[in-house]
Symmetry: C2
Subunit: 164 residues, 2 copies
């Protein structure tokens, strides 16, 4: 299908926090996000993949400004959600390809992943929406990732920007 | 902040496929999605969370029609991406809350997760974008999930619909 990749965006103001090996049962996700809401912490990405032996990890991103406060808060509620461990990493950036009409992400995704791989940029997390594929990478690779994605998708200077 | 949740969408035509414990090094994601693209398989969600001992799981969703073909293909390339196992589940649905101005997902997410928990609906996967929070649940809960989310966010009859 004719996919129109219209831009590359990046966000260097993110930090990720993961709660490891929480029980995969109803109510756990609610127990994690309610205190964050009450503390007025802005959450951007939320990612959870399938579980193993009824446990899974949940990761979310916050602004770098909120990182220390959010990490402290989540560590305090770790017991309530029976998390084995709570870990964080502020040295990340989110790099995204945006394109309307991505009925399938496979084609654009494979090009995006290939280009990052050629530069030795490891993909730490992936999340998609109808019009977007986002990868979390080490913050040191932000400019390189944006540059090679821009070239791969033949984008103009104006098609790159910080995520609003 | 004043979040406008404008709708609830659902998609009962999804099936998920996971490659388990792939090495977390550049190139693996590209090796997985290139053959899917070449086979013309439409991929919707792609989710990868953080890794443990340099390995991680990658999950993606396809249409129920493509499920058997996609699962067979991914099992064939499992060795190439050093996956410990390839598993799938066609009995899923994606249920999403859509809202412009969600500067933070935390508030809407915690209400969404709470409402699903009260009905005993387990959240199998989570993925977000700027305007959307999507949860993968057992397909048998689709209508119940949509009904209780519709009520929680005070939406009108027209604000519910199948994902386009
Ligand atoms: C892990 C967490 O998402 C859990 N499955 C829940 O429904 O809350
Ligand atoms: C697991 C996979 O995403 C790997 N990190 C890669 O960059 O391809």
């Amino acid at each position: 299908e004719k996919v129109v990749v219209s831009g590359v965006t990046y966000n260097k103001d993110e930090a990720k926090i993961s709660v490891l090996r929480v029980p995969d049962r109803p109510g756990i996700a609610a127990l994690l996000f309610k205190p964050l809401t009450e503390a007025g912490i802005n959450v951007d990405m939320i990612v959870q993949n399938i579980s193993h032996d009824s446990h899974t990890d949940m990761t979310f991103t916050v602004t770098k400004t909120d990182y220390k406060r959010a990490l402290k808060l989540v560590k305090e509620i770790g017991d309530k959600i029976e998390a084995k461990e709570v870990v964080g990493d502020p040295n990340i950036a989110k790099v995204s390809i945006v394109g309307a009409g991505m009925r399938s992400h496979a084609g654009v995704a494979s090009r995006m992943f290939e280009v990052l791989a050629q530069e030795g940029i490891n993909i730490m997390m992936i999340s998609t929406s109808e019009i977007k594929i986002s990868c979390v990478v080490d913050i040191k690779y932000t400019e390189l990732a944006v540059r090679v994605l821009h070239k791969e998708f033949g984008l103009g200077k104006d098609d790159i920007g910080e995520e609003k």
